[in-house]
Symmetry: C2
Subunit: 763 residues, 2 copies
């Protein structure tokens, strides 16, 4: 009656239609609201017995057993509870007469509506929305109405800041309390304040809130262990609607020195502005954002809504203003992987930001640059040179992959080797740097930061390889490739190829710097103490890296010995059983050779890609959420369309359908980016060819049109694809500004002010 009028059209909405307590944690992840600075899981404001509330500030890590460090669960500010005529409203008790929660992705709102009947027959209607402000990153707001439908009586509304929260430990029963109370204060007319400090990293988090009602009320404040609650009481009359607003602000000592001062000042400012203004500015910021990032699929509402879900959470996860944080594998949406950062960011998510928000992409890469010294230290520890980016990264940039995972109760343990062996991450970061530079032309970034990453990673590989006398080539032994089913393998082709690429690319940039940016080159050479001898060594290595390829079959062997592995039947084996039996078989976890053929597409001919796609598709279990998207893209590239649409839908709905069964512990952030890539790099067939954008579209039959924008060297290109045409337009009307695009082996120069419609048949 009130909230529903706020909502956008159906293809922007994700809805929870009934209340199932056992699904609370699943919806908490789907309904997480975030702005890159803070993420708040979509827990019920009323609390529940089954939920797992989480409030995570990007970069606020604290040491923890086994996992080294983790995003620390900060005080929960969602808390709004109602006691209606002496009856506490508890969804899990009484009768739910109506219930709906809706995530409005267009406006960045989460709404809740319910009608609830208590034991005494009292019926109460509750409606509210919440937002985590997209413009004002230190602000959140909850607003709603409560209606006692068939009774009068005293109403109590309680609004808490609750620091009695924990991270889940190695096993669910081990809870870790990262924050210690340092201060709470009843600020009376100004609201309430809670400040806590992370135990070992010593980061203070201040939270303030103010509860307002549309009617006069009595105010009091309750204190519990690590919790402060503002309580407003008034006499409610049957049938009348009472409005409440909860303003929340937060700062951490990562942002400002005087946390309390800023948190309270921000609260006063926002309360003065009022909820109407805050809502309007938030919605308009989101609508503005969508203008740049939306990917419109005409003719397929499920695909449309699902894809938007992925884009929505990508936007929520990055903070372009903070270049010391990156996006964790589960984003700010849950505690899976403990807030650690993997190649997921650079290879899966980063392209979305490169083409829609290059500033955010740059920030993500700067996170790696700031951790370059730590990467050097990682290399030194493992006995290598250069910079070795860690498989799992957090605040310090040192390796944070757990060595062993186990149940401390039962004593069962599994040794984790990825931190010691999954070295391809080093080349993946270098790849991302090159990708960003090629698509943006951000010379300043390249010279000041990017080149150093490219060279130091190349240097790592030069120290990582070893010369094999029998093979007469440089080999890379004992690694884990993207396919994590096989550990301690030699010459994983993905790793070897990316290493070679990394070194070659470094040499290429050295040449360019030498020629065009002598000053920068001299400075960099001196800084990293790089000699001509070392550069010659790199050349030798790059030219002689072991990259076996069977000319006859055109097959790349994923790693040495792969072809001799067993071919067993795994139908009927469940996912947990799988990992135990696949070690000696051909079954692979995810795209590996196929991934390589995607990333370094120019290095392989069409037939090779096709043959390998066919071969490895048969053995891929897609046990990783990073897999279906890559197979969808490459399926289109090699003309194997059979499973493309299904793989696309699967990758857009990994979380919506809880496909991996663990959405409850956070979103699959890599897959968010993967889904976007299927749309853009798959269906639109976008690639970079010789430094130029190219498109080679293929649309599912029922799609009428695919529309999106990409940023390219400072320009914004509008792309609309139908089965017959590709329509291109620059956002600028300035005819001197142009973008060259390759379609159908032909170069088209798009000028500002012109619309260029290219027939796909003309290819």
């Amino acid at each position: 009656m009130y909230i529903d009028t706020l909502l956008s059209e159906a293809d922007w909405l994700i809805t929870e239609e009934d209340y199932h307590p056992e699904k609370n944690q699943f919806y908490e992840t789907l309904f997480t609201l975030a702005n890159g600075y803070v993420g708040a899981r979509g827990s019920l404001e009323q609390g529940s017995q089954t939920g797992s509330p989480g409030t995570y500030f990007a970069g606020v890590y604290d040491p923890t057993p086994v996992f080294f460090t983790e995003l620390a669960n900060a005080p929960n500010w969602l808390n709004v509870k109602i006691v209606a005529n002496n009856e506490s409203i508890e969804l899990e008790k009484g009768r739910i007469l109506e219930y709906k929660r809706t995530l409005d992705m267009k406006k960045g709102l989460l709404t809740q509506i319910f009608r609830w009947e208590g034991a005494k027959g009292q019926i109460t209607r509750f409606e509210d929305y919440r937002l985590v402000h997209l413009n004002y990153k230190h602000v959140a707001l909850l607003k709603g109405v409560i209606v006692p439908e068939n009774y009068d009586g005293p109403f109590v509304v309680k609004s808490g800041l609750n620091g009695y929260v924990f991270n889940t430990g190695v096993i669910e029963q081990l809870l870790i309390k990262h924050f210690k109370l340092t201060e709470y204060e009843d600020r009376e007319a100004e609201g309430i304040y809670l400040e806590m400090k992370s135990r070992l990293s010593g980061i203070s988090v201040g939270e303030a809130s103010k509860l307002k009602l549309s009617v006069p009320s009595e105010r009091s404040v309750e204190i519990d262990v690590d919790k402060i609650t503002e309580v407003l009481t008034f006499e409610a009359k049957k049938g009348q609607a009472y409005e409440f607003e909860k303003y929340v602000t937060f700062y951490t000592s990562r942002d400002v020195e005087d946390v309390k001062f800023h948190t309270l000042k921000e609260l006063n400012t926002r309360v003065d502005q009022g909820s109407e203004v805050l809502l309007r500015e938030h919605v308009s910021a989101w609508e503005q954002k969508w203008l740049d990032v939306d990917v419109k699929i005409h003719g397929d509402e499920v695909a449309q809504r699902s894809l938007r879900f992925n884009i929505f959470h990508l936007i929520q996860s990055a903070n372009e203003d903070d270049d010391r944080v990156s996006i964790p594998a589960k984003a700010l949406h849950g505690e899976g992987y403990r807030g650690h950062i993997f190649w997921d960011t650079e290879i899966f998510m980063l392209p979305f930001f490169i083409y829609t928000n290059p500033r955010a992409a740059r920030s993500l890469l700067m996170y790696r640059y700031h951790n370059l010294d730590a990467a050097r230290e990682n290399a030194r520890i493992q006995g290598y040179k250069g910079a070795q980016f860690p498989w799992e990264s957090a605040d310090t940039g040192l390796e944070t992959t757990p060595k062993e995972l186990g149940n401390p109760l039962t004593g069962e343990t599994v040794r984790i080797w990825t931190g010691e062996e999954e070295h391809h991450i080093v080349a993946d970061v270098a790849y991302a740097v090159d990708h960003y530079y090629v698509a943006t032309g951000d010379e300043q970034f390249l010279l000041k930061y990017g080149a150093e990453i490219l060279l130091e990673t190349a240097r790592f590989w030069a120290s990582r390889v070893q010369y094999d006398d029998r093979k007469k080539a440089y080999v890379i032994k004992k690694v884990i490739g993207p396919d994590e089913f096989h550990e301690h393998v030699d010459n994983n082709i993905y790793t070897n190829y990316m290493a070679k690429w990394n070194i070659s690319k470094a040499l290429e940039y050295i040449d360019r710097l030498k020629q065009k940016h002598t000053d920068s080159w001299d400075k960099l050479k001196k800084k990293i103490v790089l000699s001509s001898r070392e550069i010659r060594e790199w050349e030798t290595i790059a030219n002689n890296l072991y990259l076996p390829y069977d000319e006859k079959t055109k097959l790349y062997e994923e790693f040495e010995g792969y072809f001799k592995l067993k071919e067993i039947d795994i139908s009927g084996v469940d996912s947990t059983g799988l990992e135990k039996i696949v070690k000696d078989t051909k079954w692979i976890k995810q795209a590996d050779v196929v991934m390589l053929h995607y990333l370094l597409g120019d290095y392989f001919d069409q037939e090779t890609k096709k043959v390998n796609f066919h071969y490895y598709k048969r053995w891929t279990t897609h046990s990783s959420s990073l897999s279906p998207s890559i197979y969808a893209i490459m399926g289109i590239e090699v003309g194997n369309y059979r499973d493309v649409y299904q793989d696309f839908i699967r990758s857009t709905r990994i979380d919506l359908d809880d496909e991996q069964g663990n959405t409850s512990i956070g979103i699959h952030a890599a897959s968010l980016g993967g889904a976007w890539q299927v749309a853009i790099n798959g269906f639109a067939g976008m690639r970079i060819k010789n430094g130029m954008l190219s498109f080679k579209p293929w649309l599912p039959e029922k799609w009428e049109k695919l529309e999106f924008k990409v940023k390219w060297w400072g320009e914004t290109l509008n792309v609309a694809i139908t089965h017959e045409t590709v329509e291109l337009k620059l956002e600028t009307t300035d005819p001197t500004r142009t973008v060259e695009v390759n379609i159908g082996q032909k170069v088209w120069r798009i000028k500002g002010g012109e619309t260029c419609v290219i027939s796909v048949c003309s290819q």
Copy 2:
């Protein structure tokens, strides 16, 4: 004004005079109320930011990392909070105008009084008492008054059952949540109910409570995660006193099948009885109890109150009705040592129960008997025979000593060897069985249970020793004696002597059984499959156990090589530094040789005891709370009185003065028993000589009289000792019942109805 009138005389009271939040956990231990079935730490009913509430049900263990299993912290029922005229009463905010908490040991009550002024100048007086019922073990009660001294306004009283509680893990920051919610229910007029189940051991705990006020009020119920709260609201008038009562009941699935039914039924019954009756019966139960157990010290109020503190907590810790639990090292008072059971029970606490409440003593020994199969399994695992009682024992009787203690955050670890090496516990249990039998004459226990323990422990030792060809004797290698500073030592004299005693005592009991209880002997022999050959082997071992003794110096070497250790200066080294540097020195943690001379006093001549006392006293750091009491007793025995009084006071006040700095995590239960032993076995000089009680008193100068009772073979002997006389009287007036007592090398036969005054000078 209300509560103070309840209190007993000063020498029964322990008082907290001011509120210091940082001392909350210390007082929580001192003020724990328990009845052997349940223990509730003395946390503030109002809650606090610094407290660590604990509710432990004896025997309710649940698996936990590192420590195997632990007493699981159950829902906290203390919770009573007040919102006075919209201002939440928080001791830590506002001004405390008056504050006192008092433990009344005579009546088993904890009282609290405070006057508190809030920010608005409202002054509220609060007074209450709480009890954990001594008769009705499933019942607790809180009762008090609240007075708004200078204001009118709405009063809200909240009474919760709070399952949002945790055990502290390996490090403070790791919290373990053992209980999962299974049910909560608003029973309306009947109160509220909460039921939770321990995660892995699957034990249900039901708690119910009802809040009553002296005035009509509005009632509502609040639900939070794992918490249910009854809320009563009324309009309070200035200056008026409002009475509240909180009735609490609890059952676990260890006690009854239908936990909910019993918990609610008990609640109804107790509410119907009313608080007056419950209080009266509780106080009278305590007064009755004290008649049997009080030790009166005339002329020394500090000693009197301190000693009573020890006795009070001993009484609180045992449950004579449950012979499947024993008393943990920190009793039911805190989480130190995780609720595990050590030799502390048999050697330090048990004597108190043997002589004051033999039924409770028997229950404690039955706990060991019920775990005899587990002890056999422990022996088997370690490669031995017979029964090896574990160094740390919990619910299953299997070894629960952590193998390694460390900080999972820093990775620092310390290997713990006691579980593998501190084998003397096996003989200590056997010693306790013999002690109980000799003092009670409980033939039925001996035949059905005790003998089996004695024989199976002897059998353990026979498998544990090895023959040393050079020494021509049986040796025991690689043990830890009571002095835990020295690990992996050979031939610890305490261990060797106790092992020899254990085997010899078993052989003695075999002879007695053969002669007097042929049936029992035949049964037992068959049950444990004991052959004559094995018995002959035991004889050989007992006669040839290596017990080196220097006839000239009369010194026993604590273990092989001890005399050659370094003599370093440790003045100025703090307690944590100590453990690291003492390994290669003569410094010992606690009485070891001196302990042996106490326990097996008859085996050593007076001069030997004296020489060894002098020698080892010099090197004893008393780093264990188990040490000063033994030195006090033996100081009296060997006539070295200098430190006796001080060691006695120290042992009575280990917790009162937080002498070890860790009272916050639980009471030092062994020391409770040690303090009692100093009074009885030290000052009164009580021993068993040739199966007869003997006394050899020595009183500190300022003491006028020492009075106590001891149970002996079913009789109760009243003992009153002055500097000149020992006065003995039986509790019975039946002249046919007698007890023989040895005083001054003479046997006195005490008859029912007679008072026998023996001049100490006549010795």
